[in-house]
Amino acid sequence: MGGDEHTIVAFGLAVGVVMGIRLMNSPRTAVAGNLLGASAVLGAIILTLGTHGVMTHGVILGSLAVGAVIGYVLAVRVAMIQMPQLVALLNGLGGAASALVPLSLLYEQTLVPSLVARLSSALAISVGGFTFAGSSIAAAKLDRRIPQRPVVITNYGIWAFTACLAMAIFTVVILGSSSWLALGAALLLLINVSGFGVVFALRIGGADMPVGICLLNALSGLAAAIAGFAVGDLLLVAAGAIVGTSGLILTRIMCRAMNRDLVAILTGRGVAAIGGVPADEVAQAASVAPVQTAEASVGRPSLDSVLHDAKDVIIVPGYGMALAQAQHEVKRLADALEARGNTVRFAIHPVAGRMPGHMHVLLAEADVPYEKFLDMDAINDSFKDADLSIIVGANDVVNPAASTAEGTPIYGMPVLRAGEAGHVIVCNLDAQPGYCGVANPLYQQKNVTLCFGDAKEQLSDLIRRLSDAS
């Protein structure tokens, strides 16, 4: 399409995109990488406008301008804590656009002559519509507009089978007829897959969201690539394929970090099963847990002396830190500890938070230098030599029961061994089990001080104790 020059330039731009991603391998070069990627896409837009002779097409230029303004405002206004919902929302918009492209082509009737174009149109509508609907629900869940619990749907198998059958029929109609009938089938197909997407996202629980988002990210790429087949655009196919594989790689990393099977997450198995079971265990844990306040019981070191004597400190942040917006207090605490000549490091579990790398971004926002962030494998052997670990809003990712509690959702999940430190301070909201519903035996350990309540206040209290002590 558009001749050899177009193909060569498109190829060059695709190489630019890949180079941009390669530069993302280090924080020092990542900014340049992102700019390179953005420039390549801008170049691709100009190239496409030129090739199709629509440099001065009023509707197109107007739409580009409107989209650019909305996008810019959205990106500048969003808070770092809202990043997961923004990513979900943007995935959805990309999916919606990928579904609208073939709809527009079909509406025009003369634009989709070949069978390949028709088939890819039907597929783009399917994948794009699914991504849009699923991402919208995921974004609403992440933004706490709808409940985070997975919704269990009875007779799901029958519904899914019927929906798939209907999708197949609509696709065949799109392939076989070139009239308004094809457009009607396309619309029905869109409604059908949207329903599918909604159900898909409703079944994913809050803590499984990192996996859900990665998967929707992959699908938005796939939808774009298929739309690329429909219009015959080389660069769009290339970009979509890259996004698709990237999303899949992240999905696999997340699944492995949670020791969960992708299929189990997609079908809501495991999480749904624990819904009612641990209710009494929860109550038990809450009542048994010796809620030790700062005034430590006899025979245990006081909180003041623990803070005072610690030399090597590891901080473990979790989703609770994000919810409490306590990253700035965490930074102040780290500064206060370092001012006393201590080493402070941060241990970050791969699935802490609601999307890959969520904790890193929040701590970077609070101005913590990134070389202090350590991944699970890098830090886990250091806990036993550390004097103090401070857990801020993390539960499942430090739960030692993961290696013993067979049959629970977290069994086999690799966790941070924060409990091995000389002393442990837990700044969590309460003694309730984490998302996985498994009580945390860490709370009963002798070397643990529980500081339940709002993480911001608890951290401020620790900072005050430190400054009083010195």
């Binding site: 909305i70 492209v101 087949f229 890193h360 971004v361």
Partner: protein, 91 residues
């Protein structure tokens, strides 16, 4: 023939992309994701092609909406990635 070429492009890009993405450390996984997000907005190219070739009012409207949504995706994705990446600093 053209479909075959596109299929090759799809496979090769997927493989090359895999190699590049695997080298990105967990530290930068959120920016990577929002960057990929922006890239999936490349579907704006398809939307441009569709709108450029549209004559009927209905298809122009569908195409224009697709251009707007995809542009929001591209611009927002790259800008927010830029914002995040600038926050990462060494001590």
């Amino acid at each position: 023939m053209e479909s075959f070429l596109l299929l090759m492009v799809f496979v090769v890009s997927g493989l090359v992309g895999t190699r590049a993405v695997r080298r990105v450390p967990p530290l930068l996984h959120t920016p990577l994701m929002s960057g990929m997000n922006a890239l999936s907005g490349c579907t704006v190219l398809g939307a441009l092609v569709a709108t450029a070739g549209a004559v009927r009012a209905g298809s122009v409207i569908l195409g224009a909406v697709a251009v707007i949504l995809a542009t929001v995706n591209v611009v927002s994705g790259f800008v927010v990635t830029h914002r995040m990446l600038r926050m990462f600093r060494k001590s």
